[in-house]
């Protein structure tokens, strides 16, 4: 494998690791999945948001 290919694969793996193992896990928690158990509570929350100015 050429040096360029090795470098690119390394960048790809580092990038994907940072994105999925660090950013997604620690900094980008899904707001609704974290704070509400089910879809009924999620829709209730959104309706509350929409019915308040």
């Amino acid at each position: 494998m050429s040096l360029l290919n090795k470098r690119l694969w390394l960048i790809v793996f580092i990038k994907l690791f940072i994105m999925f193992a660090i950013l997604k896990l620690f900094l980008f928690k899904d707001f609704f999945k974290t704070n509400f158990d089910n879809d009924s509570k999620r829709s209730e929350y959104v309706i509350k948001t929409l019915t308040n100015k």
Partner: protein, 509 residues
């Protein structure tokens, strides 16, 4: 429950804008270079000239670098949907779900499969199989972008759906209306061809640099010829698709049109402003001239926007304060209807909890009659529906100006290529090299126009950005903003460095 505080909204907005801007540096080059290398490989197969194979492999190596580093930067946008824009994600989930799922399937299965064959399949598969792989990579990446652009088009023109007051979700009624709305089609054509122009400038610029350095002459002349023809055709298509996009905007987002063209007071036979300087802080309802100076072409805006040079083009004043002669309601009226819809939604929710079916029915009727202006319920001041006019106006005009320059540049280059003088005109070659970043700038400006021009809306007329954000801590958004700024800058610098190294090495013999 209160509206998200301004700093949270602005930081969330800034973070999404930062991510999108960086993502859009990589994407147009990927889109355009995929077509360039497919054309060049086709020429290799047709002419059986091994030099075309060498040329293809060189541009393919640059494609590989850009693709590897840029790929998946868009996934962070999806992370942000879930964290910062939870309300928005919930409301549009049923609409966005299908296009984004298809986009993922296209990207991961079609593109990725054939990218592997394309990069690693030289001398391992037959020539025609390899060529097919290259074209399928092109088609796959183009089709991927279709679905993302369908989602973005829907934000600007929400069609084919009905808002469900029980679940607070927009539910898709007609997939084809969403996927093939005229707004989506023209946005797709314009955006993708702008990527082709970026790549064409990249190819022509780098080839010009080789000619300046007296390197790889035959390679460069062939690349410049293909790049310029591709660039000229794409640029002309960008103009045509831009015109048709403007027609769509005139009908679906008239306030965006008024902002990008600097139309303050509507008129029939509306002129187009070719160049202009807007006065600072002059209120919309000020009757005096809003421009320090401007050069206009008469009737052209009416013609472009409505295909009728006598047509009335509403200005910001008409759209905010109303124009009964032309059937334009003032924003204040839309705010009233929006408030009725919001109140009806509240009343429906309350009646549902009490199992009061009569009240539910009455509330639902009020809601459905006024839901198309729901978003105006959350507007406090009619002027809040006006986007940043100078930013939209200047971005649009600079983008158009650059587009015209690119057409002239490609045309001039082709003339000199045909006359076999191109190698001698160093000034033109340097101009072409220096034009490479301008393609990226023009392409980014297009997104500024599209996304700044639609403010304050996350979904046109239905959901303002301030209601779309999640109620999270603004400091979290600030931290991730800085983190992304650093991460993406590192990625971009790595991309540029590796590209420059590869360019300096040049095509392999």
């Amino acid at each position: 429950m209160t509206i998200a505080d301004i700093s949270l909204v602005d930081w969330s907005r800034a973070q999404f804008a930062l991510t999108a801007i960086y993502h859009w540096i990589f994407v147009p080059l990927t889109l355009g270079l995929s077509v360039v290398m497919a054309i060049m490989e086709s020429l290799y197969i047709i002419t059986k000239n091994e030099e075309w194979k060498k040329i293809t492999k060189f541009w393919m190596s640059l494609f590989a670098i850009n693709f590897a580093i840029g790929a998946a930067t868009g996934i962070i946008l999806e992370f942000e949907f879930g964290t910062n824009w939870a309300n928005y994600s919930w409301i549009v989930g049923d609409i966005f779900g299908a296009p984004l799922a298809i986009e993922g399937i296209m990207a991961f299965f079609l593109e990725s499969t054939f990218i592997a064959l394309m990069f690693f399949g030289w001398n391992k598969v037959g020539k025609k199989t390899h060529l097919l792989s290259t074209w399928l990579v092109t088609i796959g990446s183009t089709l991927s972008s279709w679905w993302i652009l369908v989602a973005n088009a829907w934000m600007n023109n929400p069609v084919g759906m009905k808002f469900n007051p029980d679940t607070a979700r927009s539910e898709m009624l007609n997939f084809w209306e969403v996927a093939f709305s005229p707004f989506a089609i023209h946005k797709f054509l314009h955006t993708v061809t702008s990527g082709y122009v970026v790549a064409a400038l990249f190819v022509v610029g780098i080839s010009s640099w080789y000619l300046i350095k007296k390197r790889h002459k035959s390679f460069s002349l062939k690349s410049i010829a293909i790049g310029s023809i591709f660039g000229l055709v794409s640029s002309l298509f960008v103009v045509i698709s831009g015109d048709s996009s403007t027609y769509q905007i005139a009908h679906k987002q008239p306030i965006k049109l008024a902002a990008l063209e600097g139309v303050y007071k509507g008129s029939t036979n509306a002129p187009i402003v070719a160049i202009g300087l807007i006065k600072n802080n002059v209120p919309i309802n000020e009757t005096s001239n809003h421009f320090l100076f401007k050069i206009e072409f008469p009737n052209m805006l009416s013609q472009l926007a409505f295909k009728n040079k006598n047509a009335f083009v509403p200005g910001l004043f008409d759209l905010v304060y109303g124009n009964y002669l032309y059937g334009i309601d003032p924003v204040s009226k839309r705010m009233e209807r929006g408030t009725i819809a919001m109140t009806a939604l509240n009343s429906y929710k309350s009646a549902k909890s009490k199992m009061d079916t009569v009240q539910m029915s009455l509330s639902l009727k009020d809601f459905n009659e006024n839901v198309k202006d729901l978003g105006y319920a959350y507007i406090n001041n009619p002027l809040d529906v006006v986007p940043n006019v100078p930013l939209t106006f200047y971005s649009f005009h600079l983008m158009v100006g650059l587009g015209m320059y690119f057409i002239i540049l490609f045309f001039v280059i082709l003339i000199f290529v045909w006359l076999k003088w191109i190698v001698k005109i160093k000034l033109l070659l340097w101009l072409t090299v220096l034009t490479i970043p301008l393609g990226f700038i023009a392409s980014e400006l297009g997104w500024v126009v599209a996304e700044v021009g639609r403010q304050p809306w996350a979904i046109q007329d239905l959901l303002p950005v301030s209601k779309a954000t999640s109620h999270i801590n603004a400091s979290n958004v600030q931290i991730t903003f800085i983190l992304f700024a650093v991460l993406f800058t590192i990625l971009l610098l790595a991309n540029i460095k590796i590209l420059l190294t590869q360019i300096k090495q040049g095509p392999k013999d």
